[in-house]
């Protein structure tokens, strides 16, 4: 009798562990590990893993820097070799990973793209912020900030971009330029300055523009590092009262700058939602649930006045459940 019991226990153990191992493997590939934005998407992905209680297993991958496009491709190739059940990926390049992703799709791996679209590949769903809309919101808020500060809607506007040739940044810039031309045609946007996503270089560029154009009234930094750079220069030169600035994203330093008044508004995506929903969509795809081809994760505007109630979107680390 005891033998039977032991046998039964062992059987249960084996069955149990098989069940545990049968959890879906989901690979979560981010653009870069060095920025808080991508860390926030990871929090979202991990929360999804937690909420699904052992049904899925999320593994996070990513190169150090966004500039490492080829490194990200190499990571993707390695991940495909390991045959996960699904890949949730924010690709730095819109074209480079096409062939590999398509091959993975062919192999039956579910593909969910987040943040950046990839051409010429099949996929299950694409979740992103409409960056044109975000750029337009930046223009709206910049004009609002200028009005509030009693500054004229004429003069120069400095546009600092992290990198040339990146689609999301191009969309933000386009959305910003189009809307600004509509609502404040007297503001002249200066030629874009590219700063290799380097904070110090962004700060230098902002300082140079302030000197070159005494009638400069506003800045737009189209991501976190350019935003921090702009804010640092405004703080260093003490020009917060005569220069308005809006930036994309929400690093802690940008939040500090919002508090000090160096930045007037942040256009914030929902990185947590992107990660969370991306993983959830992958899970749904594995169960053949119908998915929208494109899902807008939305943007939020955060200003100093609503800072406290916006913390959930600004600092998703506080929301980590795991």
């Amino acid at each position: 009798m005891r033998k039977v019991l032991v046998l039964f226990a062992m059987f249960a153990l084996i069955l149990g562990s098989t069940l545990a191992f049968a959890a879906y493997e989901i690979a979560f590939i981010v653009k870069a590990t060095d920025s808080d934005f991508w860390q926030y998407t990871i929090v979202g992905a991990r929360n999804a893993e937690y909420d699904l209680q052992g049904l899925i297993n999320v593994t996070v991958y990513g190169p150090l820097r966004e500039a490492d496009i080829d490194h990200q491709i190499a990571i993707l190739e390695d991940v495909v070799m390991r045959r996960p059940d699904a890949i949730v990926m924010s690709s730095t390049s819109s074209e480079a990973p096409s062939a590999i992703l398509d091959e993975a799709y062919e192999l039956g791996i579910k593909i969910v793209l987040i943040d950046n679209y990839v051409y010429d590949t099949r996929f299950n769903s694409f979740l992103a912020t409409d960056n044109q809309v975000g750029g337009a919101l930046a223009a709206d808020n910049l004009v609002a900030a200028l009005e509030e500060a009693g500054l004229p809607l004429s003069g120069k506007v400095g546009l600092i971009s992290a990198m040339a040739g990146v689609q999301v940044l191009i969309d933000r810039t386009d959305g910003f330029l189009t809307r600004l031309a509509e609502i404040a045609p007297d503001l002249e946007v200066l030629p874009t300055i590219y700063t290799d996503n380097d904070i110090a270089v962004s700060a230098d560029a902002a300082a140079d523009l302030l000197i070159a154009y005494p009638d400069l009234v506003a800045f737009f930094g189209n991501n976190n590092h350019t935003g921090i750079g702009v804010a640092r220069t405004i703080e260093e030169q003490g020009v917060a009262n005569r220069v308005s600035a809006v930036a994309y994203d929400s690093d802690p330093l940008q939040i500090d700058a919002l508090e000090t008044g160096a930045l007037d508004a942040l256009i914030v995506q929902d990185p947590h939602g992107m990660g969370y929903k991306g993983v959830m969509f992958a899970f749904m795809a594995l169960h053949d649930e119908p998915l929208p081809e494109y899902y807008d994760t939305g943007v939020y505007v955060v200003t100093r006045d609503i800072l406290d109630e916006s913390m959930w979107i600004l600092d998703p680390f506080g929301r980590a459940r795991y």
């Binding site: 060095d34 920025s35 904070i199 110090a200 560029a205 000197i211 640092r232 703080e235 802690p252």
Partner: protein, 333 residues
């Protein structure tokens, strides 16, 4: 005879002329914007971080070496300081001991490179390439790849501080230049540097302890990168894991434009400082003029090659003259 002393300052004088020409051109082209006090001090602050890294790089280039690890050391010292002092972190150490520890961490990296180069006979390019990757990995590991914020308020405000109208960061750079000009000329450390750099074997036979000296060159160079790392941390008000990446290239460019030869034995702190100013002037001037940033990059690249080309060209012509004169002397005999 005393008039001939200028010969030594030949390269510096040419660089100074280039700087003056560039500045005058920019002052006119920007209708005085460039030459405003605000912009010149701004330019010096922008140059200061690369300028400090480049002083250390110059030491290593004089030894006929090269140091690719400086950018990673910049990242390391800033990150160490941020982790130790962050008000959001676990340690919350006072600033002064944290500064010392950050610089010691930088010095340790230099010592490892020096041991690999001198005792391990690993070529400096390879040794420091290894250290560059290793140290960057270390920075990523200790920071988890995340920016560390919440630095002490006094430290964050330091980058905006001005003394006599000049940004404090620029003062640090200028004081370090003056210090090193003095050290390289008036101490045995400096003389040994040039001796070892121009002929290591002859230096050994002159009773110079090559090992200890090589260690100290690399350690001092690393400390300069460490100082630059702290300067960058105050500018960014944070410890940034990727901070300083790519700085090695700007530093090498500054030293090379400043007349340092990768063959060793030549190079001056003043030349390097001017080289750093030239590079930053092109960036700053480009922004002021609203010039196409990609064109500016092309121009800076061309400048590096041209600077070295002309240096070599004039040296070669001079050498030719010397040999001609020597063979004429023989014939006369």
């Amino acid at each position: 005879m005393a008039g001939k002393r200028e010969r030594k300052a030949f390269a510096e004088r040419n660089l100074l002329i280039i700087v003056v020409v560039m500045w005058v051109f920019l002052a006119v082209a920007t209708r005085g914007n460039f030459s405003s006090f605000a912009n010149i001090t701004n330019l010096l602050r922008q140059t200061s971080i690369n300028g400090v890294v480049a002083i250390g790089m110059t030491l290593i280039i004089i030894t006929a070496g090269i140091d690719l690890s400086v950018g990673s050391i910049v990242g390391l010292s800033g990150m160490v300081f941020a982790l130790l002092t962050s008000t959001r972190g676990a340690i919350q150490m006072d600033m002064l001991p944290a500064l010392v520890i950050a610089l010691l961490a930088a010095a340790a990296v230099g010592l490892v490179s020096a041991i690999a180069v001198h005792d391990g006979k690993v070529p400096p390019f390879i040794a420091t390439l290894g250290m560059m990757t290793l140290v960057r990995g270390l920075v990523m590991y200790v920071s988890g790849g995340r920016m560390v914020t919440g630095l002490p308020m006094e430290f964050r405000q330091f980058s905006a501080l001005r003394i006599l109208g000049m940004p404090a960061l620029a003062w640090i750079w200028i004081l370090l230049i003056i210090l090193m000009l003095f050290v390289l000329k008036y101490t045995k450390f400096g003389r040994n540097l040039y001796a070892i750099g121009s002929n290591q074997e002859a230096a050994r036979l002159s009773g110079i302890n090559v090992r200890i000296n090589m260690y100290s060159f690399y350690v001092v160079a690393a400390i300069f990168s460490g100082i630059a790392g702290l300067m960058l941390a105050t500018r960014m008000a944070a410890g940034v894991p990727t901070g300083g990446s790519g700085y090695e290239l700007d530093a090498i460019a500054a030293a090379v434009i400043g007349g340092a030869s990768l063959m060793g034995g030549s190079g001056t702190v003043l030349g390097t400082a001017l080289g750093a100013v030239i590079i930053q002037t092109m960036r700053n001037g480009g922004n002021l003029l609203g010039a196409d940033p990609f064109i500016m990059q092309i121009l800076i690249g061309a400048l590096i090659v041209l600077a070295v080309f002309f240096d070599q060209y004039f040296k070669a012509r001079k050498r030719l003259r010397v040999t001609r004169r020597a063979s004429k002397e023989v014939d006369e005999k």
